[in-house]
């Protein structure tokens, strides 16, 4: 966008609809800034931005220099508003040097040169796949008084994230993948991220549980260690846990597990608790393979999450034990996947996956929303709120807490009431 000083152009305006003859009389020097753009950057001739295009340029062949003159005259002769006089626009190739714009700005007849502002679609409307997200209905998400929590960060330690996914646009405010590729070939981290924070009401895909920001640490390698199973890179994982402490995150999602406890890991979770981070981890999916106790979910300082199916029963794979805090939807959970397939994953964009990995981000997101509602609450209060407001399930037999389902099913409406 180029604006000419009206005073510099006005003396050359003879009529409201400048003719080709009038344009020809305009001194070359007046429009030399536009000529420079054509010669240095290959720009075509200018057009008036607000005023009607002059008759001489409508469908009639005109040299670029003639178009420049006509555009400048028309921009002053017939602006729709005096405040909009003198504006013309010309198209420059992508990457046109900033020095060109600075040189044009230096022309005495020019008062303003700037790129047209970049703006993008902020569509609003129902997310078209929302009807397939049974889990949101099960936790009373539609009726919950959800606070705007964009200032609250959820930390996600996982396989990475496709931060360019349209349903995660603007959500990922931090992504640590040093030493590894930016992509998420497994897709697990992108799926978890979408459950937490897919953009709601953007007329794209699905809705996330919470309108929060995500800080993602990629703690898995891009290829499986044994050709089949992915395991965290130990040092990267431990360092990420330490980094979360000072990241400002209020909630941490860990859709991971293993059977050995670790003093180092436990210490890091203790420090996260002290720093105000509510850590949530998966109970594990090995109920039918011996139902082992899994960490980090089994640490006292971690909220351990089991999975339920759409009928409200414990998912058949979901581990049980006295350390379970509560349950959340974890069977056929629709969420985001990276846009590109990989050697390890054919599905793209969206898919339904099952696991306590999918249940955990429902709770991590809920913890972030509670923290947003009660900024002075620490993890003890947040986790207590999650448990005491959980909905009792028929499988609990009237008990307040069971080893199978914990305190019951996450109830976001009650937790945020």
């Amino acid at each position: 966008v180029v604006r000419f000083h009206e005073d510099a152009v006005r003396p050359h305006v003879r009529s409201a609809r400048p003719s080709a003859a009038e344009a020809a009389a305009v001194p070359t020097e007046l429009v030399s800034a536009l000529r420079a753009a054509r010669e240095r950057a290959g720009a075509p001739g200018a057009e008036p931005l607000f005023a009607p295009a002059p008759a001489g340029t409508r469908g009639a062949p005109a040299s670029p220099e003639d178009r420049d003159r006509m555009a400048v005259l028309a921009s002053v002769a017939q602006p729709p508003d005096p405040a909009l006089a003198g504006y013309v626009v010309l198209s420059l190739p992508q990457g046109a040097a900033g020095s060109l714009l600075a040189d044009m700005q230096a022309h005495p007849a020019v008062s303003l040169v700037e790129p047209a502002p970049e703006r993008w679609l902020l569509a609003e409307g129902p997310d078209p796949m929302r009807g397939q997200q049974w889990g949101l209905d099960a936790i009373h998400w539609p009726d919950a008084d959800r606070p705007d929590a964009h200032a609250v960060t959820v930390a996600v330690l996982d396989t990475g994230v496709d931060q360019g996914h349209p349903d995660l646009a603007g959500v990922v405010t931090g992504y640590e993948h040093e030493g590894r590729g930016e992509s998420d070939p497994v897709g697990h981290g992108t799926h978890v991220s979408g459950i937490v924070a897919a953009v709601t009401g953007n007329a794209v895909g699905i809705s996330g549980v919470a309108a929060v920001s995500l800080h993602v640490w990629k703690i898995f390698p891009d290829t499986p260690e044994d050709g089949e199973n992915f395991y965290v890179d130990g040092p990267t994982y431990l360092r990420a846990l330490a980094a979360v402490q000072t990241s400002g995150a209020r909630s941490l999602n860990l859709s991971i597990g293993g059977t050995s406890s670790s003093q180092t890991e436990q210490l890091l979770f203790n420090r996260l608790r002290a720093a105000g981070v509510t850590a949530c981890a998966a109970m594990g999916n090995e109920f039918q393979e011996g139902n082992p106790t899994e960490y980090p979910g089994a640490y006292d300082t971690v909220v351990s999450v089991g999975a339920v199916a759409e009928d409200g029963t414990r998912a058949e794979f979901s581990n049980t034990g006295p350390h379970i805090d509560l349950s959340a939807p974890g069977v056929n959970i629709l969420s985001t996947l990276p846009r590109d397939a990989s050697q390890w994953r054919r599905e793209t964009e969206y898919a339904s996956w099952s696991g306590t990995s999918m249940a955990t981000p429902h709770v991590a997101a809920a913890a972030a929303l509670i923290a947003a509602r009660h900024p002075d609450w620490g993890p003890d209060q947040v986790s207590e709120r999650l448990r005491t407001t959980a909905a009792k399930l028929s499988g609990m037999g009237g008990a307040d807490v069971t080893d199978e389902l914990g305190a019951g099913l996450l109830d976001l409406r009650a937790a945020l009431a």
Binding site: V232, S255, T264, R271, S357
Partner: protein, 82 residues
Amino acid sequence: VVVSFKFRGDAGDRECHEVLDALPGHGARRVDPLAPGTADPELSRLYLAEAGSEDDAERIVSYLSAAPAVEFAERPPTRGLR
């Protein structure tokens, strides 16, 4: 192959440095603080020692576990996707 370990809170600087200096002799290729620059007194006592082999890692764990200045030493936990 990595070993994580933590110095006791009452371990003096000299004791800690003696342990750090001895680690290469037990197979450690490098030793780094787990959270460099941290202001957390607990995290500042955590270290990672990189070993060249499983055998070296076991030797490092054995040495550290016997050192009075060290609270614990262990291999990082195995964690998979759930």
